[in-house]
Each structure stands twice: as C-alpha cells, then as structure tokens.
C-alpha cells in the first residue's frame, strides 16, 4: 500500500471514529471534557494506523527483527511500570518509548504506547479510557517523534551515539509531559491569568517532576543500547537501513 493510501485510510478512519470515546496519557479518567477527549483521540488515530503499517513492513521485510521489536515494546512496559519519586515530592514514571522510536521509527512506538496506556487504564485505573486519546498523543505520538528527531539531529551534527540516544530519550520523555501540561491548561484555563497561568501550574506538576525521571530514562536507554551493541550487531546494522521512515 502506498504512503498516500495509508494516510488516506488513516484520515478516513479518523473521521469515521471522531465521536468515539478516547483517553490519553496520564490525565486521569473523566478529567478532560468530552470535546477535548474526542479531538485528541482523533488526532492520534492516523499515527496509530501508520504505526501498524510500519510494524508490518518491518516484520515482512526483516523477520529476524521480530525479537528486537518485542524487546522495544517490552522496554516501554518495564519503564512505564516504574513509579519513581521525584524532587517535587510526588511520583511519576518514564515512558520507555524512545528506545523503540530510535530503532523502528516513531509511529511504530505509537502502537506500543497505546497498548501500554490501554493496559494501565483498564487494569490499573491509571490514566483512563476517556483520556486515552490525549494521553496517547502526548506520550505515544509527540514523545517518540521528538526522540526520533533529536536522535537524527545529534547524528547529523556528528555527536557521539551515546549522547544522541541519551538526549533523544530524555527530551522525548520530558516533552511528553510538557504536552500533558499544555493539554490540561487548554482544558482548564485559570479564572485569573487564563491558559498561561494554568500552564505554569501544570508544568510545575508534570514537567518539573519529570526532569530527574527523564534523565533516568535517558541513562537506561543508553544502557539497553550498550547491551544490544555487544550482542546484536547484525540487527542494529539491519536497522540503519530501516529507520529511515518517511
């Protein structure tokens, strides 16, 4: 299927499912007005579809990468289960999606991110079904795209690979939570000061809390790459050709 066709199918389904219930990252269940839930969900749907096609392409063309693909999803599972204390006196968790985004491209990780979010909202009452779209957009769309972009940028600037990986994972993680803050401040502008005042407040809650965790995610992503670099050189070589996702 051509790229254009993929986008067309994605957009078509987006409009078809517009009125569907959506839920997002770690905005809690019911804590976003229906209009916002639907809008963020609709924006996310095309990325999920592109992700399915991208994963299918990877598996079809390089079947031996299947294990690595499973590991990329598994890494997100592990990291998003770790609720870590932060300097603000509250807890949050990393997303673990940058690892896979660097390997397989950002949209593949949108799919895994949505799976993690579904697991957490259905079984853990963490995040929510209604907020799935908004949470998926911040964590599984913006995060992986930022990570992928930063990785490519540092590579182009001839920075060392570990630095590219570290910055990609750290900044991808951090921007996810900044987007969450933006989403909440758009939905809940303050009476005095409006969106900006709310943004300041939500950034203090999500983004500041996330700083040490984002650094941790950066470090852990470097660790897993170190391990792969010693045991699966061939797969990594395969991927240098594959990560050039359009």
């Amino acid at each position: 299927m051509s790229k254009k066709m993929q986008v067309a199918v994605g957009l078509g389904l987006m409009f078809l499912f517009m009125p569907i219930k959506v839920s997002a990252m770690h905005i809690m269940e019911g804590f976003l007005q229906p209009g916002w839930c639907i809008a963020w969900g609709a924006i996310t749907i095309p990325f999920v579809l592109l992700g399915f096609f991208s994963i299918k392409k990877t598996i079809d063309e390089k079947p031996r990468l299947k294990i690595l693909l499973a590991m990329a999803g598994a890494f997100a599972f592990v990291l998003s289960a770790l609720k870590i204390p932060s300097v603000t006196g509250s807890c949050s968790h990393p997303t673990g999606l940058a690892f896979g985004a660097i390997l397989f491209g950002p949209t593949a990780m949108t799919v895994f991110g949505v799976i993690v979010l579904l697991f957490q909202s259905l079984l853990l009452a963490h995040g929510g079904l209604t907020t799935l779209g908004a949470n998926a957009f911040s964590m599984a769309v913006v995060g992986p795209f930022v990570a992928y972009g930063i990785y490519k940028l540092v590579q182009r600037l001839k920075g060392p690979r570990w630095l590219a990986i570290f910055l990609a994972a750290t900044l991808g993680d951090l921007t996810s939570y900044m987007v969450t803050s933006i989403q909440l401040s758009l939905a809940f502008p303050s009476e005095v000061g409006g969106v900006v005042a709310s943004l300041y407040r939500f950034m203090g809650i999500f983004a500041v809390t996330q700083i040490p965790l984002a650094i941790s995610e950066g470090i852990l992503t470097v660790v897993i790459f170190n391990v792969l670099a010693s045991y699966s050189k061939e797969e990594l070589k395969d991927l240098n050709l594959l990560t050039s996702e359009g």
Binding site: K21, H26, M28, E29, G30, F31, Q33, I67, L68, A70, M71, A74, F75, F77, V78, L79, A81, L82, K83, I84, P85, S86, V87, T88, G89, S90, C91, S92, Q120, S121, L122, L123, L124, A125, H126, G128, L129, T130, Y177, L184, F188, S190, S198, R201, F202, I205, F206, T209, P212, L213, S216, I219, L220, V222, V223, N226, V227, L228, S230, Y231
Partner: protein, 107 residues
C-alpha cells in the same frame, strides 16, 4: 586473540552499564531526602487537585471501569507489567547471546 578483544570490550561495557544503573538508583533516592516529608503521590493525583482548585465546578464525567481493590493489588499489577517486559527483554538478550556463542564455536 580477537575473541579476547571482544571479551574485554564487553567487560568494559558491563562496567559502564553498572555505573549508569547506579546513577539511576541515585536519581531515585536523592528526591527522598530533598523532598523529605512529602507524600510522594502520583503526579496525576496532584494534577487532579489542581483541576479541582482551578475549576471547582468540574465533575469528572467518567470513572474507571475497573479499579484495583487496594494499593497492594495495584502494586501487584504494576509488578506483573514490569515482570512481563523484563522477561521478554531477558529472553531476547539470551537468544542473541547464545547465537553469538554458537557462531563463535563454529569458527
């Protein structure tokens, strides 16, 4: 000769990884001292309070379909999630490693 070079490189990598993991642990422990006395609840709970404060009239219009009956059960499910992921990663690394050992034997 060549294999010993590879081995040394792996050892160096292992050392670097151990130091990096210790750093991550440190990053998780330091906040316990910096923010001593805090409740360390989830950032989402704090955000929920902020929403109530900004817009007291807002009523959540949907509640979770299923809620773990207690904090213990919730941590069980989080542990299951982490264990599943860790199992798959371990399997992957193990299979790559055994392949490498076998290839080495054939040479």
């Amino acid at each position: 000769m060549e294999s010993s070079v590879v081995k040394n490189k792996n050892k160096k990598g292992l050392k670097a990884n151990i130091i990096l993991i210790l750093l991550v642990i440190l990053l998780a422990i330091i906040p316990l001292y910096i923010a001593k006395g805090s409740e360390f609840e989830g950032a989402d709970v704090v955000a929920q309070e902020a929403i109530r404060d900004i817009n007291p009239e807002y009523e959540p219009w949907f509640s979770p379909i299923f809620k773990p009956a207690s904090g213990e059960i919730e941590s069980l499910l989080f542990a299951v999630q982490a264990a599943l992921g860790a199992g798959i990663i371990g399997y992957g690394i193990g299979s790559y490693k055994s392949r490498k050992v076998n290839v080495g034997k054939n040479d």
